[in-house]
Every structure is written in structure tokens, then in C-alpha cells.
Amino acid sequence: MSKGDTGSVETTPRVYGAGHKLIGKNYVTADLYAKVTGQAKYAEDFHAEGMLFCKLLLSPLPHARVKHLDVRQALAMPGVKAILTADELPPPADTLTDNGTVIRANPKSERALTMEPLYQGEPILAVAAVDEFTAAEAIEKIRIEFEPLPFAIDPLDTLRPGGPNPRTDGNIWVQSPTPPAVVGAPPPAPPPPTIGALKWTEAEFADAKYGRLPMGKTPDEWSFGDIEAGFKDAALVLDETFVTPDTSHQPLETRSALAYWQNGKVYVHTGTQSTAQTVPAIARWLNIDVSKVVLVSEYTGGGFGSKVTAGVSLIIPALLSKKANAPVMMRISREEETFIGRARPSLLGRMKVGFSKDGRIIALDMFVISNNGPYDANGDVPTSGRIVSLLYQPVAMRWRGVTMLTNTPPRSAQSAPGGLQGIVIMEPIIAKAARKLGLDQVAIRRVNCPEGKAPFGPEVKGKRPYATSAFLREALDRGAEQFKWSERVARTPKRIGTKVRGVGVSLSCYVGGTVGFDGLLVIKPDGRVNFQSGIGNLGTESVIDVHRAGAEVLGVPWEKCDVTWGDSSKNLPFTCVSGGSQTTHAMTRAAYATAMDARQKLKEIAAKKLGGKPENYDVANERVFRKGGGAGMTLAQAAKYAIQLGGIYDGHEVSADLNRRTKASAVALAGQGLLAAAKDNYPRDGVTFSYIASFSEVEVDVETGKYNIVDFLAYADVGSVIHPRSLGGQVLGRSILGIGHAIGQKWVYDPHYGAMLSTRFYQSKPPTILDVPVDMQWAALDIPDPETPVGARGVGEPPVGGGCASILNALSDALGDEIFQRAPVNADTILTSLEAGRPMQHPLMAHI
């Protein structure tokens, strides 16, 4: 029962986007009406004549080889049209990058189907039939026998001397060096990684007995500064182990897909986090030319990183459709999604941290290993180190880590990959240090938090990279004020009856943007502006929001603007994927550049028609006109002239630096009006990050171990606000995604059979509406980032770590430091530890 509306935080509503017409203002997104009336069509809502349904046969074993397979009985059933097995999959294709580099396909990477399943639930084959009922019956008529192989679901098990290997040839990826560049030739790509075996000694495992993460050899390591000296000078040194959970992304829309072939082209309907970038992915998986792929993805039911370029499983209906010569719908069930859908890797972390007496982190020794699943290595392990080094600005730091393969479902980036884990491993230590040093929790974070062009990570070419900007300290201060931090800290008593309250604060940050993508718009002869958007429509609304920046630059009222999205056949530009919070930053830059290109062309057209130089003209209020009054024309007229003029004005010629996909789209749209297409070439000094200060209060019942989150506030430093409502949705939504990691989300596995037990929501526990306060608070600084023309940074990931860590810190504030060593924290953890007076939960065991 949420007590949220008692004792909530009262706030004065902030006004965003001062001095702007559209940027920072609320509006109704163009996709909302369809959503609210149920007309919005997600992949599974499409139907095709004679559509077949397909069902998958999943491996019951965590690692095995198919010994015997007999599908005759299934094929003989009336209504069964085709069966697809792994040997019918096209060979993995190499990737040709835009600069001509060929990236070799990794033969050991994941494929849609396999005869050597590497995790329980991995698809072996698929059956297409007239309906799901028949397809399911057919699956049960298939005789299949497996040869069990050694398996590991716990990264520590496979690291032990003589421990089982999750893959026949080892338990880690080994990357051999990139060959030297040849003059004239395109830059060489690193060869595909191979698999090796990493084992630690019994001696190195000694620590595990005491619940401390053993620290053996790791392939990756970096450092800056002198940590040994730091530890010597430190007033307090803490050495703590913390384990974060494996959590499925669980978007409510599973990765269902409909596919059919027409005129040699494959049409795929599926959810994705990028319309533009999923097309080449599909082409690669099917090993066909990009021009042969049409992707329809108008609406995507959530992604959180699991659908960055959709999922390789979509080739199953595509290939079955070819085989059965009929459209095939693959409805992925929730259980199937739990297996083939993605998940965040658990990180086991051990931190040795040296604090000065004022709380400054002068030395940090970080050690992490991840539970990666059997396929490609995720960036979580290396990223965790870089994020921690930026967010807490240690004077000296060493980072070591290794990504361990296991026989559990494949992982992928999940909102703040590595960031959440790094922050969640680090924050409880800072909270503990503050208590030991007698410092205020906000104060200790103030002295460590990044500011301005804050450096991060190790030196690259003799210099540490740094952020474009950071105003986190201001967010922290304003947040503390709005949350009434000091009042809550001072409030007594902390305990009434069996209830104890605690407050927690956490810093958080993540990458906030990339650069170098394209924008594309057409000013139509009717004066309307059409923005082409290659962004995926997964609910962040950036698919539409970012173009408000373009409209603002062009001085066009939003009512006169249209956005085209969700169908790769509709001539979309080269766009970033909506992952890593890059979209708002990258695509507002592209939109801005494109709008500037349009302005320039408008002025040139005006100069051509009305005389004078382009620079004598200005663009505003749907007109291009002579500065200081006089002759001018409407955008509608300018568009007509553009068509007459042709060439660069209507898209028959486009700038050479555009991506080939953008060029192709421009060519297709040429002649429809004034076509503007531009690449984001704006300079950027530093790497873009966004930041959040998170505050929370919890109320724990020490007799039941049950706790409620009483209040929550996230204060964001994400540059200029583009669309307050969708920003607020992101800030709080991703905060709760993080909170889920604190209050219950997890995987449970049976170690003997290597089988997942938590395949249902009531077992894996995504947060419900009653698990969070009924009125959560958010605010943003709205300080523009100096390194991007629109000033906006991304927001998706930064709130996640803070959401989780602030809850954990509030819990330790209420209960002390001797309760938990891993997340999530539930009644069982709290009660057993309170009984024993020390952390009782098996600290290192995976999937409990």
C-alpha cells in the first residue's frame, strides 16, 4: 500500500523553454490519438490473407547437442505447412561499414535457431501452420533427443579450477589485435573474437568463503593516478562486495514479427528501437541486399535496449514465409520472450575505496565480473568502470573486469547498461563511508560529483577524455532543497513502533548523446513541412519531439508540420538507434542542421527570385523576406520555386557528406518541394553525458521486512528541455526501472538442471503501480549543454542507477549497513539479516 499521497513533496511547477516557441513546451504528439483509440498497430496487430502462425521448439537443456530429430509426424498433420531448422538459416553475413571497412561475421555469434543450444529456452526449430493451435500440436509430435553437455549458470562456477565451460571451447571471449592499417585501403576491422578459457586458482577463490568476491586474473584492466599512495593517505578505506541482479527487459510487447515476400522483397512487421538501423540488420541476418528489405514499425511496445535493432528471431517468420509461400506471424509468448528476449547482465563487483576525512574519494580499486549469457560480450563490464570514474571523480583509480559466458539467456544493453551496475555497486559504499566519517549524505556526494568538463576513464593518447559539461552539483543542491533533505534527515523519531524510516540520495549519470547523423525534410508547395524520421517509435516520443527543434528554427507553427515515421519504404534518413540516450542529442543536432540547410536554401531561392544576396534575407513566420521589411515570399511559394529550380533545391542534388541511405531517400523524394538534407557536422568538445540526482524515502516494517517507498524525487541535468511531459515520463519511468532492481526484479534458476524458474511476472517481479509512490516528483535544470546547438542531451539511461541506488541507500539509512550485500532487497533479506545481525543472504550465489 503506497503511502505516497501522505507526506509528499510539494513543488512549484517549473516553466521550461524560456525564450522558445516550441522547444521546452508541452504539446500533443501526432501518434497519441491512434494509441488512445486502439487504432495504433503494433507488429502483432497486422494480419495478412492466408497468414500462417508459427511456434517454436525450445531447448529444455542449458547446453546440449541435438542427437536425434524426427519431424515426420508433425509434418504429416493437416494444417502444418512448413518446419524450419537451423541448417536452413543463411550463413552469417559480414558487415560493410560506411567508411568501407568490412567487419567479419562472427561464426560463434547467436543465430535464430541452433542444433547446439547454449541456454535453456533457446529455439531449435519452428513450425508454421494454419493456426497456433495446430502449430502447438505439431511441436508436441516432434521426436527430439539431446546429448547433454557441461553447463554453467553461475560465472563463478565456470571460473573455479576445473569448473564447467558454458561453451565447448571455453568461457570468455578473446579479442586478437586489429591488423595494422594499409595506406589507401579502408581502415581494417578487428578480427572476430574467439573463445578462450579462464580459470582462477583455489587460492584466488579463498575470499569467496567469506562472501567476498574472489579476484583472479582478468583480461581487461586500466588505471590512472597512484591508488596505493591514495590508500596510504586515506582516512577511511572500505572493501565491499556487491551483486546486482539479472533482469529481463520485459517490454509489454514481445518480439513478435510478421513477415511475407512480395516482388523479391521481404516485408517485416516488428517492434524496434530504430526504423532506419534495423533494415541493414535484417539484411545482414537474412544475408540479402538492404534494398530487398522493407520494415514496418509504426508502434513499438517498449524496448529498453532489448529491441535496439529488433531481434534476430524475426528471420524465422521471414524464412518460413519463403518456404511456405505465405505470410507468417510469429507471436512470441511471454515465456518465449523471457528466454529469447534480452536481459541485463548481473555484475558481481568488489570495490576498495579510500576516502579522505572530508569524504573525497582519493583511491578506488574496482573489480567486476558479469554474467553475460552464452553469446556476444556486452559492454556492461567496461562501461561500469568509465561511469564510476566520471560520476565520483576519484583522484586515482584502477579498474579490472571480465565478461563471463554462462548458459543463461543472451544479455543486451538495458537502460544504462553497466551504468546502473557500477553506480549500484558504488553508492552503498559511499553511504557507508558518510556514516563512518560522520558526513551528510548530500555533502559527501557534493565533494565527489563531476563538474564542467569532468574527466573520465583512463588516458587515451596521453590525455583523459572528458565530458562536454556537467551541472550535477547544482541539480544535487536544488534537489536536496526541493526534497527538503535536511528536514527529513533531522526528523525524529526515525522509528515509531515497528516502522523505521530512512532517506537516501544517489548520484547517477550516463552517456547522453552521439553525433554525425542526418536529417531530411521537405517543404511542400502547400507550405507544410514534412520531417522524415528514422527514429523508432518506442514510447520516448523522440521520434517526433526532436523535429520540434527543426520547426522552431524554420519558424513554422507545429500545426503546419508533419512527421513521417515507422516505414522504411517511406524514404527515411540515416538515424541513430534509440539506445544509450543518444537520440535527443544526436537527432536534435541533425534536425537543427537540416533546418539551417532549409533556411539557407530559402534565402538563396528568395535572392534568385527577388534579387539581392541570400544573407539579406531572413526566415520567420512561414516566410522568407528581406531583412528590415520589403519583398518576400511564403514557404509555399519558395517550395514551388525550388521544384522549378531543381538541383540542390528540390533534392536532385544533395550534399556529398550525407550517408548513402539518406542520399537514396533524398533521391526518392526529389522534386516534391524544397528538400533539405544535412549531416550533423557541428563540433563537440568532449563526450556528452547526462546526470541525475535521485532522492528517496522508505518506510520499513522491521517485523515483516516489508517496506514502502514513501517519496521519490529525480532532479535532472539533461541540457535544454525539449518536451517536458515526455522528459518527465522518461525521468520517472527510467527511475522506476532502476527501482525495480532494488525492490524485487530478479531471475531464479535451478542450478541442477540449469533451468529458469522465474518465467512468470509473479516470479520475476516487475514493479506494479502500488510498489511506487502515487506522486513521484521530477525536475530538470534546463541548462543548455554548451557543445550542441540546441543544448539538449539524452535522458533515457541516466535516471536508472539513481533510482535503484537511492532506495538501497534509504534502506541502509533505516536499517544500518549490516543488512544486504546484493540487490534486490526483500522481506527475506531484511528479516534474516535483522535476526542474525549481519548480511545473511548467500552473497555470491547466482539467481537465488
Binding site: P60, L61, A64, F146, P148, D750, H752, Y753, A755
Partner: protein, 290 residues
């Protein structure tokens, strides 16, 4: 109709989990049929049985009035074993036929008692008793042959009298050893699957298939014992066998019965010089209860 019940283990492999319970009835009915057939045969068709009598009166005279047959320890073991065996059978099979009660505890306790008593018996029989007295010897086999020939009406010399135990008795003991030991050995391992005072629960001692077969063997031995014990009780109650049954309580049998059924040469009961063997006259004996 499947004699075993199968299941699909978590890895989708088919494994037997136990026998089909209808075999309980099959065993019971088989036992019953045997009794009926045997009783009818004895009552109406059995031929008179003859032994070659070789005793000189001298020998007979040396036989005590009460021929000692079972020592006290042997008898105690025997009845403890009987009690635990019955407990095991009832706790095992009554729930399966609809009488539900908290059976597992009684079952494993009785099982433990049986196991201990059997261990004792093996040691006792091997070192403190005439171990071979319960195993068929050459004469048993020869006489078995002779009896069959006579049964089918072919000419054959009459068989000798029995040693301490009639051949049927020996064969029965063999069957009990087979069924009993298999249920005991499997039963001991099965105790790893339930909570007992002996060892921590660990169902993963063997792989699923081995466990499955173990449960099947336990079940088969169990239902086997149903028929065997039915037959055993039946014989125990038959009039011509009463003397033997009684001796299992009192420990001795009468000289007359001894001399009728047993060959002092093969089962000497007095320590003086071995009796001289001689061929000669014959006496009508009891019907053969084979």
C-alpha cells in the same frame, strides 16, 4: 497396458518413476490363485509320497524326544523380520489402494529395522549357524529329479528324506533373499529422498534414470513380496506343516516328525558317530507338499 509409470524429467527425457500400481492387485491375485490351485491339488490329486528310510532302530534310538531346530536368536530374528515386513507391505500398499494415512515415517522406520535385522541374520547365519543348511545340495537336486519322474509316473528310486530344510523351503528362502535384498538395497538409497535421521536429503545421488529404475525395482520386489508372503503364510498354516511352524515358535520338533521327514544322515542332531547307512524297507510317508 504399461507395467511402469513414466514421466518426462526437466530435460524432457523419459524416465520410469515407479511400477504401475495395478501390479499390486496382479500380485495379490497371483498369490491367491496359487493357494487355491495348491490346496485343490493336495486335496484331490496328490499321490502318496515315499521316502527311502535308512534308519536302523539304533539310530532312531539316539534321537532325542525334542529335536532342537531353531535357536532363540534365530527365532527372535525371524519374528522381528516378519513384523517389519508386514509393516512395510501395509504402509507401502494400503495408501495406494485408497487408505490414506501418514505412511512414510512408519515405512522408513520399519525398513531400517528390517535392514538391521537382515544384517544381523547374515552375520549370524554365516558364522554361528550351519550356513549351507539352507542352500540346495546335490542330493536335493537328485531327489527333485526323482520326485518329478515318480510324479509323471516314470520308475525312479524314492528320494531321501530332507536335510534340515525341505528343498521347497530352500527355494523359497532363495526367492525371499532376491526380493528382500533388492527392496532393502533400493530402499536404503531411497531414504536419501525423504527426511530421515540418517543422512541429509539428496535426491541427486544418482541420475534420473538410475533413480527411476531403483524405484521400479523397489516396486517390483515389493509386489513380489506380496505373493511370496501370501504363500509363506499359507504353508505356515497348512496342517502337514504345522510342526515346522510350531518349531519356529518353540524351537523344537518331535522325534516322530523328524524321523518321518528328515534324514539324520543329512541333518544329524546328535553328536555321536555318524549313523551307518543301509538300504532296505520303506515306509509310507506324508504327501509331498512341493
Amino acid at each position: 497396458m504399461d507395467l511402469l509409470e513414466w514421466a518426462r524429467n526437466p530435460w524432457g527425457q523419459n524416465i520410469p518413476i515407479h511400477i504401475a500400481w495395478f501390479l499390486i492387485w496382479v500380485a495379490a491375485i497371483a498369490g491367491l490363485l496359487f493357494l487355491m490351485v495348491h490346496a485343490t491339488y493336495i486335496r484331490y490329486f496328490a499321490k502318496a509320497r515315499a521316502f527311502a528310510n535308512t534308519d536302523s532302530p539304533v539310530v532312531a534310538a539316539r534321537i532325542p524326544e525334542h529335536v532342537p531346530r531353531h535357536s532363540l536368536t534365530a527365532r527372535m530374528f525371524r519374528w522381528v523380520m516378519a513384523a517389519s515386513m508386514f509393516t512395510l507391505l501395509f504402509t507401502a500398499f494400503l495408501p495406494k489402494v485408497g487408505f490414506q494415512f501418514d505412511w512414510v515415517t512408519y515405512h522408513w522406520i520399519a525398513g531400517s529395522v528390517l535392514t538391521v535385522s537382515i544384517l544381523f541374520h547374515i552375520i549370524h547365519a554365516s558364522f554361528f549357524m550351519d550356513f549351507w543348511s539352507i542352500w540346495p545340495d546335490r542330493i536335493d537336486l537328485r531327489d527333485a529329479g526323482r520326485r518329478i519322474l515318480r510324479f509323471v509316473g516314470k520308475p525312479a528310486p524314492p528320494p531321501d528324506r530332507f536335510a534340515k530344510y525341505p528343498l521347497e523351503n530352500k527355494l523359497y528362502h532363495g526367492a525371499i533373499i532376491a526380493a528382500g535384498l533388492s527392496s532393502i538395497v533400493t530402499g536404503v538409497f531411497m531414504m536419501f529422498r525423504v527426511r530421515t535421521i540418517f543422512f541429509p536429503r539428496n535426491p541427486y545421488l544418482f541420475n534420473d534414470m538410475t533413480w527411476g529404475l531403483m524405484y521400479v525395482l523397489h516396486g517390483l520386489a515389493g509386489v513380489g513380496l506380496i505373493s511370496l508372503i501370501m504363500a509363506h503364510v499359507y504353508f505356515g498354516l497348512r496342517p502337514e506343516k504345522r510342526a515346522i511352524t510350531k518349531s519356529m515358535i518353540s524351537g523344537w520338533m518331535s522325534r516322530d516328525f523328524y524321523l518321518k521327514e528328515h534324514d539324520p544322515a543329512r541333518w544329524p542332531v546328535e553328536t555321536s558317530a555318524p549313523p551307518a547307512r543301509s538300504q532296505g524297507a520303506r515306509t509310507e510317508g506324508l504327501t509331498d507338499a512341493g
